[in-house]
Each structure stands twice: as structure tokens, then as C-alpha cells.
């Protein structure tokens, strides 16, 4: 009967139910978009690190992220190669630089130089061409999402990076950049030339181990041998990049702040409508109390109303959120909806509605059952 009474109380006043559902829907969509953007941003920030084939990253001291790191001289590579347990060390060059469009104009890019044969960091999700395509003269790989930004339309289009002519030799799909400066892959030697680096210089040395289980020990050994560099595990470098882009720049705080705002607004709207519904049904709750119901029974009715509101609101909110997610898929800032986020949102919605029920529960806690005798 608790479920029946809660459901009937809820649908009894349809206008109020609509307001409640709009409140929850608004909160769900806002939180889903904000957290989905956060998830999307997180994925973009760490995608390069996660797709690199190595357990340890050697970076210049104080490197902030994958995109913002100083240069290493090159002598580090030999030092690391002599450490027991190290299988290989792959140099990578990464830097912001300028892309000149074929039809004029320019765009900021992140140039990623890696030796295609070394396998340290190759473009992935390739829809045209292969990693080996980068060995062709002037070859670069770009992502489909950014072709318009880069002023190219197809394979073989010619552009320029700094003073060097480049040719689009491969296309990837879904390698997006949080900085909005597209990643452009090329070979290590070509990247060094474009960026004007010495032959041994690199932004990172990516260390591949014989046994990934020895990561911590090998990392400590490398640290003891190299001064003035950071020696980071993949997880540490990932966290550092996330810290820099999401919290150092305030972008993540803004996204999480938006989500919290959504939760607050949703909570207030649901709390108001639940309180008003409880107030309207106060005489009925007093009757229940006079009939001998425990306070807990009445609280269960109110919490059930909140839970039903949450379920209905969640279904509606997620339907709209999934439409927004779908339309964001092909944009430079996709909203990522994972099963974990969907489940988390459901739990959050239930919690939001349960918290909203507190004011209503406090109201009935103070209920005087003698009001059943009020004329």
C-alpha cells in the first residue's frame, strides 16, 4: 500500500508532478552534460598517454602535461637503456606549433613526432592510411574531426607546418584534443626538423620494460641515475596532465561546478514540490497517524514518492541527455556517457530526491495527529 499511496499522491496533482519531473529532468540533463563533458575532456587529455606503448615517461623537470613539456637533451636515453629491466627507450617530440592552411590562414596544432618503426606512439583509429604511411615523404596524419579547422579535405592535400611542406597521408577518427589544437602525427625526424631540434633532442623518452611488474623498481633506479628530469609512471603522468588541464586551468572546476549547480537546482525544485505535496496531504498523513501508523510508515510513503519521482525524472532526463550525447559525438568536444556515469547519475538522482524529501519528512515529523479532529 505504501507504493500505491505514494504513486497516487504523486499523480493526483499532475501539474505538480510535471513541475517535479521538469526539475529532475533539468538537473539530470545539466549534470549529464557537465559530467559527460568532464569525462570527454578527461578521455581527450589522457588519450595520448594511454595509447603510448611504455610504462615509464622521462620528461623535462616540471613538465605540466603531454602538450606542455620542456626538451630533453638526448643523453638521458643512453642512461636509461643501461638500467636493468629496460627493454627499449623511444623518443617522442611533442610541441605546439603553427599549421598553415593550403588556402591561407593558420591554425595552432600539437605536432607529435614518433618513429613509426619504434612503436612508441602511433596514430590509432586510422580510417585511411596506416602508421607506415608516415614514412612517406612529407607525410602527416590528421584526424577527420579537425580537417575543416586545418583547411584540408582529403588525403594528399598539401599544407605547411612552420616552414616545412606536409602532405596528409593518413586520417584518424576520434583522436580529439582537449586544447582544441589538433594533434598532427608525423615521423620523429621530420618533427625534429619542423621544430628545429637537435638530432637527439626529444620531449619525452618513453620507456618499455621487460616486465611491467617491475615498474616501480625500475623507475626508482632511473631516478637515481638521472638528475633534473621527472621520471613518471604512466598513471602519474596521466594524473599530472589531468591536474594541469582540468584543475590548473579551471576547466574541470567549471564543469564540476556546473554539475553541482544542476544538482542543487534539481534538489531545490524537487524539495519544494515534495514539501508542497506533503503539506497538501497533511490531513491524510494525520489520519494515517491516528489509525496507528508509525512515523516510519509515513516517512516510507514520502520517500517512495521521492523515489518514484527520481525514476520517472531519470528516465526522461536520460532520454534527453542521450540525444544531446548523440549530437555531440561528431563535435570537437564530445560528451561521453559511460555505463558507470549512467549508473552514477541514477544513484545521484535517487540521493537528490531522498535529500529533497528531508523537508517533507521534517514537516510530518512535527505532525499533530489531533488535527484529524479539526473541523
Amino acid at each position: 500500500m505504501v507504493l500505491t499511496l505514494a504513486f497516487r499522491n504523486l499523480v493526483h496533482d499532475r501539474v505538480r508532478l510535471a513541475v517535479t519531473l521538469v526539475g529532475i529532468l533539468f538537473a539530470i540533463v545539466l549534470v549529464a552534460v557537465q559530467l559527460g563533458l568532464y569525462q570527454g575532456a578527461r578521455k581527450m587529455i589522457i588519450s595520448m598517454i594511454d595509447n603510448a606503448q611504455g610504462e615509464i615517461w622521462i620528461t623535462a623537470f616540471g613538465a605540466k602535461s603531454f602538450e606542455e613539456a620542456g626538451l630533453l637533451s638526448g643523453r638521458e636515453r643512453h642512461a636509461v637503456l643501461s638500467v636493468p629491466g629496460v627493454q627499449g627507450v623511444t623518443p617522442l617530440t611533442v610541441a605546439f606549433t603553427e599549421w598553415r592552411k593550403p588556402a591561407g590562414g593558420s591554425a595552432l596544432i600539437v605536432l607529435v613526432g614518433a618513429d613509426p618503426a619504434a612503436g612508441g606512439l602511433q596514430p590509432w583509429n586510422m580510417v585511411q592510411g596506416t602508421p607506415a604511411s608516415l614514412t612517406e615523404p612529407h607525410a602527416v596524419a590528421v584526424d577527420k574531426t579537425y580537417m575543416e579547422n586545418l583547411g584540408v579535405t582529403r588525403i594528399s592535400d598539401i599544407a605547411q607546418v612552420e616552414q616545412t611542406r606536409v602532405k596528409v597521408a593518413a586520417l584518424t577518427d576520434g583522436i580529439r584534443s582537449f586544447t582544441m589544437a589538433p594533434y598532427v602525427f608525423t615521423s620523429l625526424s621530420r618533427a625534429r626538423t619542423m621544430l628545429g631540434l637537435e638530432p637527439n633532442q626529444a620531449t619525452f623518452f618513453l620507456v618499455k620494460l621487460d616486465d611491467p611488474a617491475t615498474t616501480e623498481a625500475v623507475r626508482n633506479e632511473i631516478k637515481s641515475r638521472l638528475a633534473n628530469v621527472d621520471v613518471l609512471t604512466q598513471a602519474e603522468f596521466r594524473d599530472r596532465s589531468l591536474d594541469h588541464w582540468l584543475f590548473g586551468t579551471g576547466a574541470g572546476v567549471a564543469l564540476i561546478g556546473g554539475a553541482i549547480l544542476g544538482i542543487l537546482v534539481g534538489t531545490v525544485i524537487v524539495a519544494q514540490t515534495l514539501y508542497s505535496s506533503t503539506k497538501d496531504h497533511l490531513r491524510e498523513f494525520a489520519t494515517l497517524r491516528a489509525l496507528g501508523s508509525s512515523a516510519g510508515y509515513i516517512h516510507r510513503v514520502i520517500l517512495m514518492q521521492a523515489a518514484l519521482s527520481a525514476i520517472l525524472g531519470y528516465v526522461l532526463g536520460m532520454t534527453i541527455a542521450m540525444v544531446v550525447v548523440h549530437f555531440s559525438e561528431q563535435t570537437a568536444l564530445p560528451i561521453l556517457m559511460t555505463p558507470e556515469l549512467a549508473i552514477g547519475l541514477f544513484v545521484l538522482t535517487l540521493a537528490m530526491c531522498a535529500i529533497s524529501a528531508v523537508s517533507a519528512i521534517l514537516k510530518v515529523t512535527k505532525l499533530d495527529p489531533a488535527m484529524v479532529f479539526a473541523r
Binding site: 491524510e284 489520519t287 489509525l291 501508523s293
Partner: protein, 276 residues
């Protein structure tokens, strides 16, 4: 009073408000209610009837005095313990019926059983049985909004009866009903009181209810001023208790709040259907 009394209240005092606004609503009331009796509690407005009903029904606590419901002392119990006493021993019928408008008749009765932890098919059967007893076997699925005042009050009586309470308290049960429906409800309460497992106390202003009483208590200014047994009262009443079959008092009567009407002639000719 009798050791078999369902309810025994001794020297009950109730003070309402505080400071200069302090009012002694009850000034030392002692009363006991016995099973098998329909007792009317009468008195002018402000005499303390409803306050006494609230205290006897374990809804309000007394300022001082002792109350035992089915042998359980209730004077110093907290709200949850009082709720349990109500759950176990007391059924209520209210002036305004206090039915849940979003639930049908059967669900309204089942709710009272649900509160007592009785659920499922057995509860549904008990609810239907209670509704059948009050002559509403044809209204299981009707909503309060589609029922007459008399029918709603009979659903309220069924709700109070379903859990088989030893004490049935009715607050102005006929006040919102027309004459015919009011008499039918009183006849029903009278029949319920004949069952030796219930004591029935009804607060009322309505002198048409007097013929149904086994006992009449008058209260004024917070004190019981008379406690009379039926014969003397009934002798004084000119009109005999009407015998209206419950099934005849149906939705043909609009839910006329407080209205009095003549009722159907056909109904009056028929004999009263026995409760139970």
C-alpha cells in the same frame, strides 16, 4: 469500574496553552467504557468532548491522570508507543470521514490493515469482508469522490472495524450526513456495539442519535455532569430508532454535507439489515 472495561480513565486533566493563555480543557474526568455498549459523549461546544476523545484515543496525552486501554497504561507513553496502542486496540471514525481520495473503498480499508502489517490476499479479503458488513459489497472499487456522504462514512466505519479493535471512537459521525444516512450510520454503530468484543464511544451534538445509545455521558466545562443508562433516555425519546436497510442508503443521496433530508419512503419501510 468493571475489570472487563476496555478503557478506564481516571482523574484525567488536560491543560492547553500556557501562561496567561492556559486553559484547563479537562478538569478531572473519570470514565470507563465497557464492551457491548454504544456510549454517546455529548456536551456544548468547548465543553472538552473532542479533547477527551483525543486523550481516550491515545492521540493526545493527558496533563495528569491515568488511562488504561485494554489493560495497557498509556499516560506516560511516547508518540510511537501511543501509535502502537492505537494500532492494536483503537479504531476511529471521523466527522469528515478522512478517507484517502486517491484510493478506492477497498484500498482505503486495506490501508488501515497495511499500517498493522496485514498485507496480501488475506488483507484484501478482510477489507472486502468489512465493506460487506457495512453494506458496501457493491462499492469495493468506488472512489470517495463518487460516493455519497453516507457511503463514505460507512467506508470509514469499515476501515475502523477491519482491524477488529476493542475500542471504536467516533467523532461526530453523523454531523456531515443527512438525516437518513446519519441514522443508518448510527444504526450500524449500534449493531457494532452489540458485538461484545467492541466498546463504541461517539462524540455527538446530534440529538437524533440518542435512541441508539446504551449510555449517554454529558460533559460541560471539562467535567462529566451526567452519566445515564439507556432506559430513562429512551423513554424520553418520542421517535423510535429508524430501521433503514444499509443497502438502501446509497448514492441516490447526494453527499450533502450537513444537510438533513427526508430520505426514501421505500427505505423506511424495509427492515434493518443486521450487522455481522
Amino acid at each position: 469500574m468493571s475489570s472487563e472495561a476496555v478503557l478506564v480513565a481516571t482523574d484525567v486533566v488536560k491543560e492547553l496553552g500556557q501562561g496567561a493563555g492556559l486553559v484547563r480543557a479537562l478538569k478531572g474526568v473519570s470514565v470507563s467504557l465497557n464492551p457491548g455498549e454504544l456510549t454517546l459523549l455529548m456536551g456544548p461546544s468547548g465543553s472538552g468532548k473532542t479533547t477527551l476523545l483525543s486523550i481516550l484515543g491515545c492521540i493526545l496525552g493527558p496533563t495528569s491522570g491515568n488511562i488504561r486501554v485494554a489493560g495497557t497504561p498509556t499516560a506516560n507513553l511516547g508518540p510511537e508507543a501511543l501509535a502502537e496502542v492505537r494500532r492494536r486496540h483503537i479504531g476511529f471514525v471521523f466527522q469528515s470521514y478522512n478517507l484517502f481520495p486517491t484510493l478506492n473503498a477497498e484500498e482505503n480499508v486495506r490501508l488501515a490493515l497495511d499500517v498493522r502489517g496485514r498485507r496480501g490476499r488475506l488483507a484484501a479479503d478482510q477489507a472486502r469482508e468489512a465493506l460487506t458488513k457495512v453494506g458496501l459489497s457493491h462499492k469495493f472499487k468506488s472512489y470517495p469522490g463518487n460516493m455519497s456522504g453516507g457511503e463514505q462514512q460507512r467506508v470509514a466505519v469499515a476501515r475502523a472495524l477491519a482491524s477488529a479493535p476493542s475500542l471504536l471512537l467516533a467523532d461526530e459521525p453523523t454531523a456531515a450526513l443527512d438525516s437518513e444516512n446519519g441514522q443508518a450510520v448510527m444504526a450500524l454503530l449500534s449493531e457494532i456495539a452489540k458485538d461484545k468484543s467492541h466498546a463504541v464511544l461517539a462524540v455527538t451534538h446530534d440529538h437524533r442519535t440518542l435512541p441508539y445509545a446504551d449510555r449517554i455521558i454529558h460533559i460541560e466545562d471539562g467535567l462529566i455532569v451526567s452519566d445515564e443508562r439507556p432506559e430513562r433516555v429512551r423513554d424520553a425519546i418520542v421517535t423510535p430508532p429508524p430501521t433503514i436497510p444499509l443497502d438502501e442508503v446509497r448514492s441516490e443521496h447526494a453527499p450533502s454535507e450537513g444537510a438533513s433530508g427526508g430520505g426514501s419512503r421505500r427505505a423506511k419501510k424495509r427492515k434493518m439489515k443486521t450487522y455481522g
